[in-house]
């Protein structure tokens, strides 16, 4: 008798556990109603510190009251993996933010992006080519950051060094770093990312990472290692061991100069307002150039940067497609650009009106050179749009850590990288 009760009880327990393990009720599909309000989901990251998504969502909702944009937050460091997982499971967002150009081909070849070639883009917008594959546009850029030189005017004054005037080459930059290094602060801070060296090396020599020839990297790495060895910037190993943040290094005035993307202006303004960063005068200048040909305010300095864009989920509800395309058009338009500039984001469209809005933000630098550096430059993509890019950038990332940590010479590392690209990418 006891065994019977035991058996019955355990079977009941199994049944209960199995039912509990089943997921909750599935959502019933809503029938299409032309006048019904539409909700679009949009993927974003770090929503507390990245206000651009909510800004665009609110601005669009004001103009189109029947469309609501709901933000789906993803972890910033693992954004692409998480979005991929959601898309593969069929629960991806309606509007897929393209955080990195490296992954555009993954989504596009996986059939996850809708053809958006018919979305009208304003003239002069930058970054649209990064989203074009075989003549078809799969996403629309709303943001185009570029790399510039941030400099601390107070530290420059204290050391008696002249501010950058827009005509610097890398030699000028090195000389300034030397003059600016004191006991309490270094001349420059270079963050650990491979882009801080390779981005300039590739853009300014006109090399594409897809070519497989990386001899152009040698000069740039030699320059960087020289600065590191002389003590004018924190060395890579210390930066790694102590996990230094670029916001902290420049914001607390531990370095007088920093090469960084224009997205940092919004962060710096916010941190100076909140007290996380010191209160000091700063400005941005064009990045140092390879030689005098592209240097100076009469020329167009060459720098690098990738756009950020919005794509549409290919499996989106057909009733929502028009609203989604309207949102893409809005994000890329002048109105979207104005909304973004007002919060310190660098939009893909930077005409004079947008420049004025950007620099009228409280706390932004007001000098002409900053405006020039921000608006006038030739921005080459850091990541060419190709399915080979992710693998090649991984190989070059290994080159970066090997050379910057001092565990391999630049010549050996370049040879290894070139062999690996031939072997692994073909």
């Amino acid at each position: 008798m006891n065994r019977k009760i035991l058996a019955a009880g355990s079977i009941a327990a199994v049944a209960a556990l199995t039912l509990a393990g089943c997921s909750g009720s599935t959502d019933a599909g809503e029938s299409a109603d032309p006048d019904a309000p539409i909700t679009l989901t949009l993927s974003g990251w770090s929503l507390d510190t990245t206000p651009e998504f909510q800004t665009l969502a609110d601005a669009f909702h004001e103009e189109n009251p029947n469309v609501t944009i709901e933000l789906k937050e993803y972890d910033a460091a693992e954004y692409n993996t998480l979005v991929t997982a959601d898309l593969a499971a069929g629960s991806g967002p309606d509007i897929i933010t393209q955080k990195e150009v490296k992954y555009v081909t993954t989504f596009q070849e996986g059939g996850q992006l809708l053809d958006v070639s018919d979305v009208k883009l304003p003239d002069g917008i930058g970054g649209a080519e990064s989203y074009t594959v075989d003549g078809t546009a799969y996403a629309v850029p709303y943001r185009q950051d570029s790399w510039v030189l941030f400099y601390d005017k107070d530290l420059f004054d204290a050391a008696g060094v002249a501010y950058p005037d827009g005509s610097w080459t890398w030699d000028d930059y090195a000389a300034a770093a030397k003059a600016l290094t004191t006991d309490t602060s270094k001349g420059a801070y270079l963050h650990r990312w491979q882009s801080t060296v390779q981005g300039f090396a590739n853009a300014q020599t006109g090399t594409s990472v897809l070519d497989g020839d990386y001899s152009n990297l040698k000069q740039y790495y030699d320059n960087t290692l020289a600065l590191q060895d002389a003590g004018y910037q924190v060395d890579f190993n210390t930066s790694t061991a102590n996990q230094l943040t670029y916001q902290g290094e420049f914001g607390t005035q531990k370095a007088a100069m920093m090469l960084m993307g224009t997205w940092y202006t919004a962060t710096l303004i916010a941190q100076q307002a909140s007290g996380d960063a010191n209160d000091f005068e700063w400005g941005i200048a064009p990045a140092p150039q390879l030689d005098a040909k592209t240097a100076g305010t009469d020329n167009t300095p060459v720098t690098f940067g990738d756009p950020t864009g919005f794509g549409i989920n290919a499996n989106i509800d057909s009733a929502k497609v028009d609203a989604a395309k309207k949102f893409l058009e809005f994000a890329a338009s002048e109105e979207g650009a104005q909304a973004l500039a007002a919060i310190g984001i660098t939009p893909a469209l930077t005409n004079d009106a947008v420049v004025d809005t950007y620099f009228s933000v409280d706390g932004a630098p007001s000098d002409d050179l900053s405006k020039f550096a921000w608006s006038t430059h030739e921005v080459l993509p850091e990541n060419p749009t190709s399915s080979k890019t992710a693998t090649i950038q991984g190989i070059l990332g290994d080159l970066h850590t090997a050379v910057m940590s001092g565990s391999a010479s630049i010549d050996d590392a370049i040879k290894t990288a070139e062999d690996r690209v031939k072997n692994e990418v073909g």
Binding site: T18, G111, N242, S407
Partner: protein, 314 residues
């Protein structure tokens, strides 16, 4: 029960000898049902979340799966590519290098700790707990702290080495020769508590009388250890070795947070190669093939260990 039945049979031969066949198989069926109902909840989870994906993986290794539903059959192309892939070779040898260093070191350290703490002194519970702490600490916290400790110019470890006279201490995580030994050190420090517990449990099964007998026969501490403790510990030692081997081949999280395969590729291991190919380069079919390779490495070595153990205990 059998004895009583036999006696009863012997004394009363006219009683029914054994239950009829139908009732015997009904009993067996009911026992099996009870057994299955206890295993089933866990097994369903295991089946759907682990077994099924692993079986699917074996299929995906022969395709060029792009995780979004396209999985065209490519036969053994992925495996041929693996054979020629320089990074795969590096990852393979790094994994072996890590395991060959990590396994004996961990066994020695954890067995030593277990022997030291296998007594009833006051406060021994505190030391046992302290030795176990690293195993339950967050891996990210471990990586951050050890990164600081290993800092070549400012870290305490190199300061101590310089103080005792080594003028150019190793670069640890910044040098391609010393990065893997550094990772092995941290990994041993982390695992020693867990395997110490296993060894402690095993040491409790060593019969005291054997030790007494050996002591009476005049064996010293070392001879007692080799001739009494170690042989009695063989089942535990076998279990620890198998678990350590499999976990060493699969090492991933510590490498990822400490060095991310660097500098260069000096600490790239197989699991990380799989992760990179799959999630960073979106080549899921190729990554599946690499995962199958790792699976066969683990299983071949484990089978070898089982055969060795069977031979030893025969």
């Amino acid at each position: 029960m059998t004895t009583t039945e036999a006696t009863r049979r012997g004394t009363a031969p006219q009683q029914r000898p054994t239950p009829p066949r139908r009732r015997r198989s009904a009993l067996r069926r009911r026992n099996a049902l009870i057994g299955w109902s206890f295993i089933l909840p866990n097994f369903i989870g295991f089946g759907f979340l682990t077994l099924l994906p692993v079986l699917i993986l074996f299929y995906m290794a022969f395709t060029n799966w792009n995780v979004f539903g396209k999985a065209d059959w490519v036969g053994i192309a992925n495996f041929q590519r693996l054979l020629g892939d320089g990074s795969f070779h590096i990852a393979f040898w790094n994994t072996l290098y890590y395991s060959v260093m990590h396994i004996p070191l961990t066994i020695v350290v954890s067995l030593g700790l277990a022997l030291l703490l296998n007594n009833k002194l006051r406060g021994v519970a505190f030391f046992r707990t302290a030795a176990f702490f690293p195993y339950i600490t967050s891996i990210v916290a471990i990586a951050v702290v050890w990164n600081l400790l290993f800092s070549p110019d400012y870290g305490p470890i190199n300061e101590i080495l310089r103080a005792i006279g080594i003028s150019s201490p190793p670069g640890w995580l910044t040098s391609s020769e010393w990065a893997m030994p550094a990772v092995v050190i941290v990994s041993t420090w982390r695992d020693m508590g867990y395997y110490m517990i296993l060894f402690l449990a095993g040491l409790q099964t060593v019969p005291r009388e054997l030790h007494e007998a050996a002591r009476v026969d005049g064996a010293n501490v070392w001879e007692r250890f080799v001739n009494v403790t170690l042989p009695s510990l063989r089942p535990t030692m076998f279990f620890v070795t198998v678990m350590l081997t499999i976990n060493s081949f699969k090492i991933f999280d510590l490498i990822l947070v400490m060095t991310d395969g660097g500098p260069g590729q000096s600490t790239l291991v197989l699991s990380q190669f799989i992760y990179k190919k799959g999630f960073e380069e979106s080549q899921f079919g190729y990554a599946s093939a690499a995962a199958v390779a790792l699976f066969f490495l683990c299983i071949l070595v484990t089978i070898g260990q089982f055969l060795w153990n069977k031979k030893r205990s025969a």
